[in-house]
Amino acid sequence: MIDPTTPIDVAIIGGGPSGLAAATTLKAAGVARVVVLERESEAGGIPRHCGHPPFGAREFKRIYTGPAYARKLVQTALAAGVEIHCLTTVVQAREAGELLLAVPEGEQVINARRVIYATGVRETPRSARLLGGMRLQGVLNTGALQSMVFLKHMRPFKRPVIVGTELVAISAISTCAHAGIRPVAMVEPDPRPTARWPFTLYPRLKGVPLHLNTRPVAIHGDKTVSSLEVEDADGARRHIDCDGVILSGMFTPESTLGRMGHLEVDPATGGPVVDQFGRCSDPVYFAAGNLLRPVETAGWCWDEGRRAGARVADDLAGRLPEGIETVPVSVQGPLLKYVMPQRLNLKVSRGKDVLQLRLNDIAKGRIIATSGGNIVGQWSVNSRRERRILLSVSRLDQSAIAGPVTLTFTPA
């Protein structure tokens, strides 16, 4: 139960790297009551179950394993005077900062002057991938596997196939090694792995055969998994014998509260629509971290959390600049996956403001911003899919912006 007698200045939904960084920053800025609402039994977020380094370089200038890093974040927040409430689930986020909570004692409603929404991401499950075959136990996302191995010292299978080659798939291999699980294969529909070199060397190092141009089609088995059916680029199908499937990556923001509530959600990022201050469509709500878009490292989210904390402290003090004009920003065409923030307050933009983008495929060329028929900005890009692209807002000719800004890609 959260003490209802003292007013809550800021409630933060989610005690992962971005939420804890925001909370710590708010306390450092002199905000009186900052409350972190964490639904798990301990705060720390996803790093809690990443039992491997490297975490913390940006934040603490040294390298930790995930759990040690999570503890360090929690200690730092507590030392700064942040209240952390675990086993506290936000069931509904309502207008004017009213939150319906499930706490061990039952239901509770609290009110906060500002809310920072920092619920992070999760991997796409089997269902949303529309993967075929039987519904069996032993088909898990990496996050579930990590929790089983590092938090519960359990293993759900011994010879799984890993689907995907994002950075988290590398973590899957490392997690398996920790629990004596020997992945029989790693499959990737694309012609090249998603993670950067040198991580792509890791599967071979660990003796896990990497199958590129290989799309998972169906999971087979009677009571338990017996094989994963895959299809190659020519459409030929075969079975890989295994006793489980790790569905890695394809991260999606955990934006349920926004989707079910009153906040606008961007279908492209899957996260809430925000302006360059991280402010949502209801200005009482801010957002930070991987909820904003899939997916960045813990260190990046921590930094976003810090900035969100600073902006909210400014806002509470009446120092957050209001835009004279606010324009929507969106992407067009098949190559551009998303842009975040989705709104810009013009004429108050700071030099540091950036637009975050990603591509759906490898490409080299120019991103062109148009507004009301005018070209208002250009940036050259050379990127692969799922790599962070940052476009400086200072390159936009703000005086030429007349209405919504659209970003398109022109190949070189």
Binding site: T89, S127, R135, A218
Partner: protein, 463 residues
């Protein structure tokens, strides 16, 4: 080994929705009942996947056993659901015509409803339909409104039926497959994987295996089951505000077609397909079919485009070569076969049980009905209800997407119907059935269910 020294009055084979309702009816009528189920958990065959709709029978074949059972079952459900703490979401349904040809068929459908004594249907225009269903595609030309079509909880209901049987003296034996049997003119000795079960009468409600059970005993069966697979796509809870009523198509000769419906758990789903197959276990789904279901859903409600998918599943309906239910009594052998309950079992179950008890009485058996039977308290899993997380001492919320508490999980892991599989636990609690499908809670669940499941979620690793 013989399990019981005194024969049961009735052995019921198969703890699907029909078997659970059957156990309840026979118990309430005063019979000593045993329910035999081959799986580790009840509701593990055809009953594990359906559309969770309580039908009125408006579109059932006129004069069929099916329509009688649906209507009696619907009526009895309405009589008992409040006392049991079950749900009834009276959302109504619309049979929507999307072409002029279909518009022409609406009158005939309405006449069929009248012939089935469903008198409260109304023919409405596309505009009137969109007033009550504003998110429906503007291609909808006209519709028949059927007000009493409703949504119920497809698992808590049969659990409660069986619980009432157990509370009033009924018994259930799980992991108990019937492999054969002998009738000596007055008593059956059923051979099962747990030993011999003695009973005076047998009711075969074995669903997808109904013909095989009859064959194992008599060498033949009055019908052949050809499983009909139905695939479904369940959307995120945010989609549930896009439709209020059940949206039905104008049916074809073979199937009721693709239905768009809410669930009492707060989701919106689309399905089922109708794919005949030989396998009684293959409930596999396939990407192309799921995509076609989503396209069908988006054609009905365009705003579904881009809506996240929460779950995908398939169920098997025990179809036979006949259109109607296949319920028959073999008086010479004290045996009743209840088969071919292909798609309306949830609606019909209580009515099927009444009808079957009638056949049983006609065979000369009779008992004194219980005067004041104990009434069970069903699990409350409905999205809008007073769920356990709202109460104190629920322990913790384990499944965050569906707000399932540790206390709910521990309750489902104990007692005579304790979950012995993850699938069984899901049906009893909804754990992992939400949008993350176990990303956040699988590890905690593996820990909480350790030692409870026949196939464990995970095994311990030495540190």
């Amino acid at each position: 080994m013989t399990i019981n020294s005194t024969p049961y009055d009735v052995a019921i084979i198969g703890a699907g929705i029909v078997g659970c309702a059957m156990a309840r009816r026979f118990t309430l009528e005063g019979a000593r009942v045993v329910l035999l189920e081959k799986a580790t958990d009840i509701l593990d065959g055809a009953s594990k996947a359906n559309s969770a709709i309580l039908h009125t029978g408006f579109d059932a074949p006129v004069g069929s056993i099916e329509v009688g059972c649906i209507q009696a079952g619907h009526e009895e459900y309405r009589q008992i659901y409040r006392d049991f703490g079950l749900t009834l979401d009276e959302c109504g349904a619309h049979v929507v015509a999307w072409s002029e040809e279909e518009v022409a068929k609406l009158e005939q459908i309405q006449q069929q409803a009248v012939d089935n004594n469903v008198m409260d249907t109304r023919l409405i225009t596309g505009d009137d339909l969109r007033k009550v269903e504003p998110n429906l595609s503007d291609r909808a030309l006209a519709a028949i409104a059927i007000p009493r079509e409703s949504l119920i909880d497809p698992w808590s209901s049969p659990y409660a039926y069986l619980q009432q049987s157990l509370m009033n003296g009924g018994e259930v034996i799980l992991s108990c497959e019937v492999t054969g049997g002998r009738f000596d003119g007055s008593e059956w000795k059923l051979e099962t994987t747990q030993g011999l079960v003695r009973a005076n009468h047998v009711v075969n409600c074995a669903g997808l295996y109904g013909d095989l059970v009859n064959s194992s005993v008599f060498g033949q069966a009055p019908f052949t089951i050809t499983p009909r697979k139905g695939q479904f796509v369940v959307y995120d809870k945010a989609a549930s505000r896009l439709a209020h009523s059940v949206i039905l198509p104008v049916p074809t000769a073979r199937t009721k077609g693709i239905v768009l419906f809410r669930t009492v758990f707060g989701n919106l789903a689309v399905g089922p397909t109708a794919e005949d197959q030989q396998s009684r276990t293959d409930s596999s789904i396939d990407t192309e079919t799921l995509q076609s279901l989503m396209a069908a859903g988006e054609a009905i409600v365009p705003a579904l485009k881009g809506m996240p998918v929460t779950a995908t599943y398939a169920g098997l309906r025990p179809a036979t070569e006949f259109k109607d239910y296949q319920i028959s009594a073999d008086a010479a052998n004290n045996w009743i076969t209840v088969g071919g309950i292909r798609s309306t079992g949830l609606s019909g179950a209580l009515g099927i049980a009444q009808y079957t008890y009638g056949l049983y009485r006609d065979m000369g058996a009779d008992h004194t009905a219980l005067t004041d039977p104990a009434i069970p308290t069903a699990r409350v899993l409905t999205d809008t209800a007073n769920r356990d997380w709202k109460e104190k001492d629920h322990g913790e919320i384990v499944c965050h997407c569906e707000l399932v508490t540790r206390r709910e999980i521990e309750a489902a892991l104990s007692g005579p119907l304790a979950a012995k599989s993850l699938a069984g636990l899901k049906r009893q609690t909804r754990v992992t059935m939400g949008r993350c499908q176990g990303f956040f809670c699988s590890a905690r669940l593996a820990e909480l269910t350790e030692g409870h499941f026949v196939i464990p979620m995970a095994e311990g690793v030495d540190k």
